[in-house]
Each structure stands twice: as structure tokens, then as C-alpha cells.
């Protein structure tokens, strides 16, 4: 079974600054996907960024980038130039690439991020 751990229940950052959210995971799989999802108070879960484990290059999406360390089983999210609209709960998630339980996302406990003006 896979587990995902987010050790920071809450984080805060000033507008325009940079913040990093941590995530570690445990799996015996070699091929898998990792995701960061954002959930604002509206409850809508929104995909922020995705990383395939077989890719060594870290994924980036505009102001969002990840630091994927496969050997350490670490997957952190860096948000640059933070904006007020980034305030939300952020979830790290794991999904196997194939086999049984494929399609099942395993989520961490979440990190509440607050961006202050």
C-alpha cells in the first residue's frame, strides 16, 4: 500500500514571495505519478502540477514547480510570486502507473496555505 505524508498542516507567505510545500511518500512501485492539487474554499479540487516518476526533469507550470527526489521519495511544490488567489488547501497525491488499484489516487493530509497581502 502507498502512503503520502504532508508534514506541514499550515503555511503562510507574503504576497509576491516564494513558498515551498513538502510531501513525502512511501511505495514499492517503480512507475507512478505524483500530483499536487489545490482545493479552495469552494471545494473544487484543481490540478496544479503532475510529475511522471520515470522523468528525471522536474515539472513546471508557470509559477509552480516541483522538486522530485525519487530516491528520497520526496515531492515538494514551490510557488513563486505568490498571489492572494493561491490561498487554499494543497494536497499531494500518488497514483500507480499500472496494475491493480490503477486509477486510485492516494492523498496526503493537506497543507493550508495562506497568502497575506
Amino acid at each position: 500500500a502507498q502512503t503520502v505524508t504532508q508534514s506541514q498542516p499550515e503555511m503562510s507567505v507574503q504576497e509576491a514571495e516564494t513558498v515551498t510545500l513538502s510531501c513525502t511518500y512511501d511505495t514499492s512501485e517503480n512507475n507512478y505519478y505524483l500530483f499536487w492539487y489545490k482545493q479552495p474554499p469552494s471545494r473544487q479540487m484543481i490540478l496544479v502540477i503532475r510529475q511522471e516518476a520515470y522523468k528525471q526533469q522536474n515539472a513546471t507550470e508557470n509559477r509552480f514547480s516541483v522538486n522530485f527526489q525519487k530516491a528520497a521519495k520526496s515531492f515538494s511544490l514551490k510557488i513563486s510570486d505568490s498571489q492572494l488567489g493561491d490561498t487554499a488547501m494543497y494536497f499531494c497525491a500518488f497514483m500507480k502507473q499500472s496494475g491493480t488499484s490503477y486509477g486510485k489516487l492516494t492523498f496526503g493530509q493537506g497543507t493550508i496555505l495562506t497568502v497575506h497581502p
Partner: protein
């Protein structure tokens, strides 16, 4: 295009009652997923459909929970003899295909179920 929709947005029921929660996936998405999110927690997997069939129902907590997707589009999550512990937000997600680069899951806004 339209995203995943879920109805009702909120549902309040009494202990012991039966409830149905509906999910309309993105048009053309063959895979559909249900998750349950308790307050302050991450979502937990319940069941996954590929087309009309349940490909993985290992997350359903007990036999009071059942889900269907009879025509491979809309899905209904059914909960019998509701208990206070069933109170949570029930999230639905869909993906274009179950594998490959098109397997990103897109979520609906959820149904908040409160059992009194």
C-alpha cells in the same frame, strides 16, 4: 466545456435514512471515480468505474455503500441506513481514459452530506 457536476450540493438527512448522490462526468470521459473527504483530511478513494463496470471498489467501507453507472456516463452513489460517521464531502472525478497521458482526474465540487 462543462466540468464535472455533482448534485445535490448539500444534503442533510437523518440517521437511518437512504441517500443518493449524483455525479455527471465530463462528456466523453470513460473513467469515473468517487472519493470521500472528512473534515480537515485528504480525500479517500471509494470506487472507480471504467465504462459501466466497477474496476475497483476496494475503498467502499461496507455493504451500506453502493454505486452504479448503468450507461457509462452518470453515476449514483447510494448509501443505505446512513450513520453519523458517514457525514463528509463526497467528491466525484472523471478522466478521459484510465491510462496514459489522458488519465488526469478532474474533480467536481462535491456533495456535503450531513447525517443528523
Amino acid at each position: 466545456g462543462a466540468g464535472v457536476s455533482q448534485t445535490p450540493s448539500n444534503k442533510v438527512t437523518e440517521k437511518g435514512k437512504y441517500v443518493e448522490l449524483r455525479c455527471d462526468p465530463i462528456s466523453g470521459h470513460t473513467a469515473l471515480y468517487w472519493y470521500r473527504q472528512s473534515l480537515g483530511q485528504g480525500p479517500e478513494f471509494l470506487i472507480y468505474f471504467q465504462g459501466t463496470g466497477a474496476a475497483d471498489d476496494s475503498g467502499l467501507p461496507n455493504d451500506r455503500f453502493f454505486a452504479v453507472r448503468p450507461e457509462g456516463s452518470v453515476s449514483t452513489l447510494k448509501i443505505q441506513r446512513t450513520e453519523r460517521g458517514d457525514s463528509a464531502v463526497y467528491l466525484c472525478a472523471s478522466s478521459l481514459t484510465p491510462s496514459g497521458v489522458e488519465d488526469t482526474q478532474y474533480f467536481g465540487p462535491g456533495t456535503r452530506l450531513t447525517v443528523l
